[in-house]
Symmetry: C2
Subunit: 337 residues, 2 copies
Amino acid sequence: MAPTIKDIAEKAGVSISTVSIVLNNKKQVSRETKERVESIIREMNYRPLHSARKLATQTTGNIGYIIWEGYFSEVEMFYSQIFWGMEYAARINDYYILLTTVKEKFNPQEDLPRFLKNKDVDGVILVGKVPGTLIDYLDLQQIPFVLIDYNIFQKKYNSIQMDNYNGAYTAVEHLILNGRKNIAFVGGSLFHPSIKDRYRGYKDALEKNNVNVAKIAEYSYCKNIETSRAVGESGALYLIKEHPEIDAIFSCTDHTAIGVIEGLQKANKKVPEDVSVIGFDDIPLAIYHKPKLSTLRVPKMEVGKEAFKLLHEIINNPGMAPQSRVLGVDLVIRESS
Amino acid sequence: MAPTIKDIAEKAGVSISTVSIVLNNKKQVSRETKERVESIIREMNYRPLHSARKLATQTTGNIGYIIWEGYFSEVEMFYSQIFWGMEYAARINDYYILLTTVKEKFNPQEDLPRFLKNKDVDGVILVGKVPGTLIDYLDLQQIPFVLIDYNIFQKKYNSIQMDNYNGAYTAVEHLILNGRKNIAFVGGSLFHPSIKDRYRGYKDALEKNNVNVAKIAEYSYCKNIETSRAVGESGALYLIKEHPEIDAIFSCTDHTAIGVIEGLQKANKKVPEDVSVIGFDDIPLAIYHKPKLSTLRVPKMEVGKEAFKLLHEIINNPGMAPQSRVLGVDLVIRESS
DNA sequence: CTGAAAGCGCTTACAG
DNA sequence: CTGAAAGCGCTTACAG
């Protein structure tokens, strides 16, 4: 059997309270007993039993990671990289991460993730466009949470954001500097705050540089809610048909961009010769694609780490005012622009 | 505060033992008290506290999922789909899954996954070519485990396998039926049992059909340990240079196949007109690729589910003789063949 | 069929 | 600085 705190106490000739104190290095313990206890712990390879500890402290030691299902209908790397960043930070603080997804159409009664229903987490990190009713539930139940790449208009929740606005601005400015004159936008729903910011960046870059200004509305394809390949493809097809002069398309995500390129090819346009394309996210597919996709790299690991850190702070300071931290993105130019 | 078993007992006018018994529906309880207790549980939305339950039963309620790092150096979907299958089965049995990776070069002293070091799992599922020293550790510590897509020569461990041999055989036979005469193989290390079986399938299909037999050795490119794109590319380049008559290549994985196609293109061979290519795994990239990749579909969700089920059985029947279950794979023909 | 009691392995006031 | 004791919320023989 694995040794318990009692075994350690006996062998060290102290009480279990003392062992517990050195374990959690709280309060003062004489150096010598501390060292003695520690050496015995090491010697017997003792680890406190998780469940016992959690029972006593009334915590779970787990955090939940909830992924919007839309994020892996396509190629699901985005959330995955974020996970590894979180895991890295969680490990240091001795938390385990429980993973699950939620559907678009979400019923708080039935679809509540198991670890929430059973109260098996101390907090939750959510990535993407998660259901509003879920967020309301967390809020109501006072379960600490942080949003990644999402936010609700006019609400102040803890969140990690990418610098969508500046990323888009930089990308479009790069297109301008490369001599592109007729720069279009293909995007999903402008209801998604991230997409909205990317669109603002696109628009502002054109306006500040006085390029293309009169045409912005016509060159903007934002009909759909999705940001899928299919949307990209039909967007490109539509735009080229209506406005054959278009020579660059900024796409709201990489998946969209890949669809855009396919549409362009169907319309017999060469990328990047005839039309430059830039995406957003830097999904792994970006470098596998032909041509390799120019895009804005989101520091996914960092996002995960930062999300955990923020959550951890919230858990330990329940009164904390909500904050959102924004991480910069990098323009990476490859073959499509 | 969340209600405890005591609250339920009081409100139902029974002892906590009785509540516990209906909770775990063991032993006999009179129908009426059972129903009364259950309705109160529902009414108060009571859930037993995980840590308390686990403390009392001396279990953890967790299983570990260990991924060989090589499996997501490329595009990491394979293990991810398996995860969702496992999660599905785990949910039904009220287990949580803890995820981590192990490096190729693994030192049991230092690199032991945290949940193993702390004994926070009741069992472990490992996918891919995990370190032998890790397996030895699990064996020694008597921690129940099941291997996915891997096995150690001459050892009898619990495992889930794909039908690598028949998959490869079918693919190569398909190539033959399509009139291909000079069918090559590009693979990774034949030390990996799965790759080895795929190679056997390739060889046997040719021999049984009396095609290409004298050339098998020359047409086999198995120099490297990896099954990466890079390997595929250099393999294709090498084979075409030495044997320009080659008109089909069976690749040991999809990643390899993608590399093979790139190599072929560099050598000015058209796929599939000049050379047919078939991969193995059916990674998501397969349908994004141009041309779309023909391959053998591994039922990843099923693999995950089955792995969990097997592990669950082992956990509950410690004496069980090791077994390996093999799942069939389906040939899916797309554009590359 | 039901209850009282011990026990799982920790943490944490409270004394001293 | 250290220890005795209570408590966290369950399960499980054991009586009855």
